[in-house]
Each structure stands twice: as structure tokens, then as C-alpha cells.
Amino acid sequence: MVNVLVNLFSRIGAPLTRGIVKLGFACRFFIAILRHSPVSLVRFRLTMREIWFAGVLSVLIIVVSGLFVGMVLALQGYETLVRFGASSSLGVLVALSLVRELGPVVGALLFASRAGSAITAEIGLMKATEQLAAMEMMAVNPVARVVAPRFWGGVISMPLLAAMFSAMGIFGGYLIGVQLLGLDEGSFWSQMQAAVDFRLDVMNGVIKSAFFGVAVSLIAVFEGYDAPPTAEGVSGATTRTVVTSALVILALDFVLTAFMFRGV
């Protein structure tokens, strides 16, 4: 009986302590990245390269997804709005949903699976093939040379990608609402302009995506750096990056939204 209890506790406790230890390592790693960041900002070419790989190469998937999400929003929103005779507010609905919520969140989820996983795999493979150790032996700090530029590349790319997602989504909403369903173009845009507040809506969305950018980039570089230096180790770390990022994005989104909630 006692044995069963002890077993139960250790089975719950072991993953828990492992998780907490890992969280501790991640925090220390975050501080190390910040401490070694000057190199990636002074030699900005290093970071530019990562913005290219993480950001620019993600533009296509972000743009296409944003367009479709906006079009679906318009179709669904129209159905509901038309029942209340408020179909001219479709532009407002689409814009607010995207700017405040879907742009940052869906953009970050896509970013995590497109760029985050690639960053983890790249750093993990560099570790497995001793490239990071070789760098250390050449007296070059891999956190400064490899990790920090990728981290900042992700942090810089994320809000820009989220903005592109929202912009494409609004364009998609315009295509469906105005071009397909025949809403009045003037009221579509002017209502949107009147109802969307720059600071409360747009800026809050940007703040969200900045948080997500830090979270996803940190998870991606940490999982890569922490991966066991084997093939299974790297593939496991890549999966963990996507899963952990998704959970962290959604949890963070709830917390941030609660803080930004106005209650009107």
C-alpha cells in the first residue's frame, strides 16, 4: 500500500522536477543570450541572415494563410451579421479579429512550425556534429555567434510576420465582403477605420506578437542547444519545439488578453 503511494508520488514528481529543472536551465540560457547579444546587434549582418531564414522564408506561408483566414472570417461573419442587419460592420469584425487575436496567435503558431522547428534542428545538428564544440575550441562563443543571432532574428521577424498576416487577412475579408458578397466598399473601409483604435487594438496586437516572438525564439534555440547530440535527440527536440511553442503561445495569449481586456 505504502509502496503504491510512493510509486504514485514519484511517478508524478519525477516529470515535475525534471520540468522545473529544465525551466531553470531555460531561464539561465535566456540570461546568457541577453548577455551575449551585443555581438549580434553590433555585427548586424549575422542577425540579418537569420531574419532572412526565419522571417523572409516564412512570408509565403504567412501570406497565404492570412488570406484564407481572412476570407473564412468574412464568410462566417457575414452569416451572423446579416441576421442582425449589421452586415456593413463586416470590415470591423474582420479587422478586429485579425489585429487583436488571429494575426498574432495564428501567425506565431505558423512561425513556430515553419521557422522554430528549423532553428531547433539546425542548432541541434550543429551540436551533434560537434560544430558548436569546435567553435568553442576556436575561442568563439557559440551562444554569441550562433544562438543570439537566431534568437534576435526570430524576435524581430515575428511582429512583422503577424502584421503581414493581419494585412493579408483584411485584404481577404475585402475580397469576400466587397467583391463577392457585394457590400458597400466605402462603408466597409470607413467603419473599419472608425472602429479600430490604433493604441488599444493595433498596438496591443503588436505587443502580443512581440511576446510570442520572444517565447517561440527562446524555445526554439533552447531546445536545439539542449538536444541530446544524436539523431533521435534532434528529432525529439524539433517536435518539442512545436508542441511547447503552441501551448506557450495559447497560454500567454490568455494572460495577455486578460490584461488588455477593457470590458466594453
Binding site: M126, T129, E130, Q131, A133, M137, M138, A139, V140, R145
Partner: protein
């Protein structure tokens, strides 16, 4: 070539090291002088790579001292450690070339990161180093386009880019065809004599090492079990040395990993009883 036998460039004084519970090195002492090529021989998992990591300060000894050019590596802070590593060149087991950089940029990497030389001078230096390993013609290739032996020679050019005083080689012969193997061995010796470095070659290739090196340490289970010049090693009666250089499957290093009695494992005992 004669060198003044001054203070050794690398010295281990009664060094012990353990990963968590597993003891890897026990009371290891060795010295490597300028101009010397020294081999560390031992089976897989005997702690050879660990020994090189101690020299580079990637790990610190639990007890004892590791001295590189007179400095105690275990006591250095991060800044001093990075300064010390500039005197070290290391060839990793499979080269560890940066896969996203060309051969030229790989060799230029330490020069660009650690010096302020103008790009024109870096170019000349890189081509000189590549010429030294016979691969100037491969400067524009990517690492994925190289054979194993070529990759290791490029890595060698990269390791000597900053003219190190101590060269470390981790199993430089593993997985090479006989010609590449002989080429690599010849390069190690030539570079050592030309640059006046001290070289430590971790290996289990007996024939190549005996022809190449000045002194040999045998490592088994983290202990130095035998040492000597190549001639002394060939004449040695030490059972471990004999097993190693004659490649005998059984001896002081047992063929069987310790286990429960075979019959018991197969369940025969129970059937009989």
C-alpha cells in the same frame, strides 16, 4: 630538429574526472613538450576524448591540475579560458566543419572571428593553409561535397589557421581509406615540425601511430597503464600493450562484458534443478 626541452606545453598532474557518478579518468599524469607528437591510445570509452576536453577547458578536473603553457586550465575564468584557447587547435573526429560555410569560409572563420586582419590578408592566409593540406583547389566547395578524408584535411587547415602552439587530434584516422590515412599521418607530423607545436593524437590505430609519434600513453578504464617511446612499446611485455598492438580479442580487456552466469541467464539451471 632540436628544441630546448623547456617547461612542457601540456602537463597533467594526477588528474581525476567523473561525469556525475561515472569515473572516467583516475590519477592521470602525462607531459607533452614542444616539438613532440604524443599518442594517447585506448579502446572506445576509455576516456580519450574526455582528456582532450580537459585540455581545452570544456570540462574541469575534479582533482589534480591540467597545465597548458604553464597555466592551470581548471582555475581560469571564462575570459582567460578563451584567451588560452587561442593557443590551441583541435581537429575533431569527423572534422566538425560548419556545414553552412564553404571550405574557404570555414578556414577563414577563426581569422575573421579572432583577428582584425583585412580581408585581403585573410584570403592569402586561407589559401596558404589550404595549400599546406593540399586542398587549395577545393576552396569553393561546400563541406557536403567533400570526402571524409578531404573534410578532415580542411578541418586541419582551419585548426592551424591561427598558428596554435598545441594541436589536439581526436581520432584523426578513424574511417579513412589507407591513402587518406597515410596522408593525414604525414600531415600531422609535418605540421608539428614546421610550426614547432606540441601535438596530442588520440587514436586506436596502432600501426600508424607507432610510425608517427615520439611517445605513447596507453589508457584503459581511465588509468594510464603503460607508456613509452615506439621502440619501448614494440618491445613491451605488458599484457595490455601486447593485446592492443596485436589486436587480440581477449586479454586484460575481456571479450565478455561482466554478466550473470550464461546458463542461469538461459534458464538452464532451473530446468536442471
Amino acid at each position: 630538429m632540436t628544441f630546448v626541452m623547456s617547461a612542457p606545453l601540456v602537463e597533467f598532474r594526477n588528474v581525476s574526472f567523473a561525469y556525475e557518478e561515472e569515473i572516467v579518468l583516475r590519477d592521470v599524469s602525462l607531459t607533452v613538450a614542444r616539438g613532440q607528437v604524443v599518442a594517447i591510445m585506448g579502446g572506445s570509452g576509455s576516456g580519450k576524448t574526455t582528456l582532450l576536453k580537459l585540455i581545452g577547458g570544456q570540462i574541469r578536473p575534479d582533482s589534480g591540475e591540467v597545465l597548458v603553457d604553464g597555466e592551470n586550465v581548471g582555475n581560469l575564468g571564462e575570459r582567460d579560458l578563451y584567451r588560452l584557447r587561442r593557443k590551441l587547435g583541435m581537429l575533431f573526429q569527423f572534422g566538425a566543419l560548419f556545414t553552412d560555410l564553404s571550405v574557404f569560409d570555414n578556414v577563414a572563420f577563426p581569422l575573421r572571428e579572432r583577428t582584425n586582419l583585412p580581408e585581403s590578408m585573410i584570403r592569402d592566409l586561407v589559401l596558404m593553409k589550404l595549400q599546406a593540406v593540399g586542398l587549395r583547389g577545393a576552396a569553393r566547395l561546400m563541406p557536403a561535397e567533400l570526402s571524409g578524408g578531404m573534410a578532415r584535411r580542411v578541418a586541419l587547415a582551419r585548426a592551424i589557421a591561427l598558428d596554435p602552439r598545441v594541436m589536439l587530434y581526436d581520432e584523426p584516422f578513424t574511417g579513412l581509406d589507407p591513402i587518406s590515412l597515410a596522408t593525414t599521418g604525414k600531415l600531422i607530423r609535418e605540421l608539428n615540425d614546421a610550426l614547432g607545436t606540441a601535438s596530442i593524437v588520440v587514436t586506436h590505430d596502432v600501426a600508424e601511430s607507432l610510425a608517427l609519434v615520439d611517445y605513447i600513453y596507453f589508457l584503459a578504464d581511465g588509468v594510464v597503464v603503460a607508456q613509452g617511446s615506439p621502440d619501448e612499446v614494440r618491445a613491451s611485455e605488458h599484457p595490455f600493450v601486447r593485446q592492443f598492438i596485436n589486436a587480440e580479442p581477449d586479454g586484460p580487456v575481456p571479450f565478455h562484458k561482466p554478466a550473470a552466469p550464461y546458463a542461469a541467464d538461459l534458464g538452464l539451471e532451473a530446468a536442471n534443478g
